[in-house]
């Protein structure tokens, strides 16, 4: 079976689209590189990539060394979606093994499930439960767990809403941290005889940028120092936004 020779624009644009989907969904640099060169290899092309946090540059060289394709694609902000990464990874293997044509790949990409798998209420509930679990793990009691549950629930809700309203990303994090810690702080303020320090410190943990943090480190190990640094600085800024939200609550209620 022979692969239909693709138009050079079609193949390159499809590869850029896949790469940008992967970066947005939260893949590390090496995975983007490997996936794109795997698919390009299936069409007997050589791919050279330049990957930064907000742009993807691709040069495709065809086997005869005459045709080349170069284009830069802007990559939007990160929106984690591991299901998409998993599906694209499976698809890239099928492309190599079943020799899909570009039209077929484009059709399959339209069918990829980009929406969240879980209903919003379930996500809110599960993340709030995770917050309560954190509180228990760090030594909180029943009352603190309930408080932490509510704090996390409201905090995540505020983050989702502010993201929808298209606020600055770090400002969304700040609002969420402020909401969570404000709720716990207010309860503590009106019940000063009990200690709610565990609830306060764990109610903002759901905001921790775990994926950029691990991706940053794995980029460093792979030798993509520039991307690793970019992600690391991003983590620091997010941590700063969380700390700022927490600090404002602490100052409002004068808790130490």
């Amino acid at each position: 079976m022979e692969i239909a020779k693709p138009n050079k624009y079609e193949l390159g644009e499809m590869l850029l689209e896949i790469g940008s989907l992967l970066i947005v969904a939260g893949a590390n640099t090496e995975r983007v590189k490997v996936t794109i060169s795997r698919i390009a290899g299936a069409f007997c092309c050589n791919s050279d990539l330049m990957i930064t946090n907000h742009a993807l540059m691709l040069t495709l060289t065809y086997k005869d060394n005459i045709k080349t394709f170069t284009r830069v694609k802007w990559v939007p902000n990160m929106h984690l979606n591991f299901n998409l990464i998993s599906d694209i990874s499976t698809m890239s293997w099928k492309i190599v093994e079943e020799k899909w044509s570009v039209e077929r790949i484009n059709n399959e990409m339209k069918l990829l499930d980009r929406r969240p798998l879980y209903p919003r209420a379930l996500v809110l509930f599960l993340v709030a439960l995770a917050g309560a679990s954190f509180c228990r793990l760090f030594g909180g009691g029943m009352a603190e767990m309930i408080l932490c549950f509510l704090g996390t629930f409201l905090g995540l809700f505020v983050r989702q809403e502010t993201v929808k309203l298209k606020f600055n990303f770090y400002l969304c994090i700040f609002f969420a941290a402020l909401t969570s810690s404000f709720l716990v702080g207010a309860y503590w303020h009106f019940n000063p005889d009990q200690d709610f320090i565990h609830a306060l410190s764990t109610s903002v943990l759901f905001l921790i940028p775990g994926v950029p943090m691990i991706n940053s480190f794995s980029d460093f190990i792979d030798g993509n120092i520039l991307n690793g640094t970019t992600r690391g600085v991003n983590v620091l800024v997010i941590a700063f936004a969380i700390a700022l939200g927490l600090m404002v609550s602490l100052l409002i209620f004068n808790l130490h």
């Binding site: 299901n83 990464i85 499976t90 020799k99 599960l126």
Partner: protein
Amino acid sequence: MDFALLEKGIWLGFAGIGFGALFNVPRRTLAAIYIMSALGGLLKFYMISLEFGLVFAAFCGSSLIGFLSVLAAHYRKAPPMTFSLPALIPMIPGFFAYKAMVGVMKLTAEKDPEVYSTLFFETAKNGLSACFIILALSAGVAIPLLIARKETVKRIKTDKVLEMQLENLEEEN
């Protein structure tokens, strides 16, 4: 003691699932994330109870998660990072980071030199613990993935069949 550890395992699992839902992992991976998150965290807590030190315990716990994620990737047909990242997050030292941050805030307002020095000591200790635990977590989970990278790709056919196909492909072109 044993029951307390078991209870921690249950909560660790829930924390892992919560982050899994936040990261939108495929449904088939949720059970594996629950188990991995509980096992990794339990290893960490057990090693802390044996007084191995926080950083080393975190490193071992995250390495276990890394290795398990490579295994789970084979059985559940998803990239290893889908499993390891949600399972890892319950181990992040949020309390130390919080203590360090509040400590820095207090330091800016403190005037008494003696209180300042004790406070500075505590803050630096908490901050450094948080930093090193996070480093140990990232390293622990990344290294098994790097070791196993060549084997993690899920192939329906064997290498030889694939190589033959690629050779045919090149000849055709």
